[in-house]
């Protein structure tokens, strides 16, 4: 819809390597840089952050932590993220179309996050330099673009001006334009541009991004369309369920708002679309949400985790586990683009794990330390040989 269709498809088993063989082999080589079970084991045994840092020097992160004398969780996150971004940029520079456009799609998500961060920060009056330092490195715009985001005024024409002057040249511009169009159509007479919350803008932009990405992948065809289609559907459903869950207790849950506003946030792709999302529109509280999710077997078990009290695991943890299982499957087949998306997402999960472990060590909460989802683990629940159906 907004992004033009790819000029050529990804290529099948015998032609993929012409253009993308090198980059695919690169990213598969980077698979060996993920931390193994033994690394995680050593790190959870550490008592201080210095021990933790020592263990890190034996993994692939040795160069990243070498320049940091005193390791803190946030410093660790920055260093690990920078390493992932360097690897991603290396892949992006070696990529040929249509892989280049595919990799750009992965970065659009972070661009949306950055734009929202800048807007939110401006509205609460924070300094632009501080905000730019906090932006996700994969989604950076030009310096001038980012500095002009805070100059817009949160007035009736504020968002329109913001789009026309700043965002129209960026890749996320089309998503913003669609959002404005939709709000103008549905908002009617009320001054929707003033009252709309930042979270709703972000959910709408992510929705358009997922739909655009899914359309692009299905035009690529072949194995890529199959694997990415599945991954994005699951992503869209996670978003839909989270939007519904987070809306309980906010004005978005009022019967009047549900149909007009909440429904517009659900992406038009996914296993839950269209039957499930139309049912989710009417959901008012957690029991009704549970009843709707019972109808979809893949989500009923995740919902069970949340409904069961959430003391051991939260619903976010259940979603992360399911995501890691599916993303690892993307590495199983060759000659498709899914590995690139899976690599970025699994690296993100690993960084989350590292930050969690280091936070637990810092705060001395050793009993919580094992609540992370390891990547490519031999002990993963879905890899256990017992209990096969």
């Amino acid at each position: 819809m907004t992004t033009p269709a790819p000029q050529s498809d990804a290529g099948n088993l015998s032609t993929f390597n012409i253009l993308h063989g090198f980059t695919e082999a690169l990213v598969r080589g980077m698979r060996s840089s993920f931390m193994k079970d033994s690394d995680y084991h050593h790190m959870t045994q550490c008592d201080t952050l210095d021990d933790f840092r020592l263990n890190m020097t034996e993994t692939d992160y040795s160069e990243s932590v070498a320049d940091i004398p005193n390791l803190t969780p946030s410093g660790l996150q920055e260093a690990a993220l920078e390493k992932m971004v360097t690897e991603f940029k290396y892949l992006r520079t070696q990529a040929v179309e249509p892989l280049g456009q595919f990799l750009d799609f992965i970065t659009y998500e972070y661009m949306i996050e950055n734009v929202m961060l800048l807007l939110k920060g401006t509205l609460s009056g924070r300094d632009i330099n501080e905000l730019i330092a906090q932006c996700h490195p994969l989604g950076m715009f030009k310096e001038s673009t980012m500095r002009s985001v805070p100059t817009f005024e949160p007035g009736p024409r504020g968002y329109d001006d913001l789009y026309q002057t700043v965002l129209v040249d960026t890749p996320v511009g089309p998503y913003f334009a669609q959002f404005l169009q939709d709000s103008a159509v549905h908002g009617g007479s009320r001054n929707v541009l003033e009252e709309v919350e930042i979270e709703i803008i972000k959910s709408s932009l992510i929705k358009y991004w997922i739909e655009d990405f899914a359309a692009y992948c299905s035009k690529l065809g072949g194995e890529t369309a199959t694997i990415m289609g599945d991954l994005l559907k699951v992503r869209a459903d996670t978003n839909a369920i989270n939007i519904t869950l987070n809306s309980f207790g906010t004005p978005l849950n009022e019967p009047g708002m549900r149909f007009s506003d909440r429904k517009r946030l659900y992406p038009a792709v996914g296993h839950l679309y269209p039957a499930g999302t139309s049912m989710l529109v009417d959901v008012g509280d957690e029991d009704e949400l549970g009843r709707v999710l019972e109808l979809f077997p893949q989500y009923s078990s995740i919902w069970g985790v949340h409904a069961g009290g959430g003391s051991e695991k939260s619903i976010d943890d259940a979603f992360y586990e399911r995501d890691v299982q599916q993303l690892e499957l993307a590495f199983e087949g060759q000659m498709h683009f899914g590995v690139f998306y899976a690599f970025v997402k699994l690296k993100e999960q690993e960084i989350r794990n590292l930050v969690w472990i280091s936070e637990c060590i810092l705060q001395g909460q050793k009993d919580e330390i094992n609540k992370f989802v390891p990547v490519f683990s031999q002990h993963a629940p879905w890899r256990k040989s017992g209990g096969r159906r």
Partner: protein, 191 residues
Amino acid sequence: MADSTCTSEFCNAGWAEILTHMSPYGYANFGIAFGLGLSVVGAAWGIWLTGASLVGAAVKAPRIRSKNLISVIFCEATAIYGVIMAIILANKVKKPDEATYFLDEDWDFPGFYYAGYGMFSAGLSVGLTNIASGVSVGIAGSSCAIADAQDPSLFVKILIVEIFASALGIFGIIVGIIQSNSCTFPIAPLE
């Protein structure tokens, strides 16, 4: 179609006449060209399939560089089969001792045509099988390089897959040699 059939003695009677009246020298030399050309296409296809993955996987795991050149060597072997067949066939093409305008009446026409057709099909046998062999060795070699970079014990096991794939090319050259074995071009009329 009957209306447009030409009845003059200078028109041909369709594809059947064209194909049967083509010179055996033409058939034989096209066979040599197909044999060599298609084998080289297959080998080249296999080499870039495996080479691209080999180069990329060696960035993070440099130890795989030398071992995985075996995959490239297997692909190269299919091109060698094509060259062998082409040389064998090219040596069988002989020109007549006397350069006459028309061939004599007691020329060995059966043997003449047998040689032409035999060498054409021998070339096709080798060429087409080597395309298939080259592509399959290439894809297997690409996966072999990537797998070896992760786990060195997988190399020998995947190499066995490549050996079977490369056997396809050997089938082609064996049959090709049998087909062209008794093909000889006559060089003089039968006594």
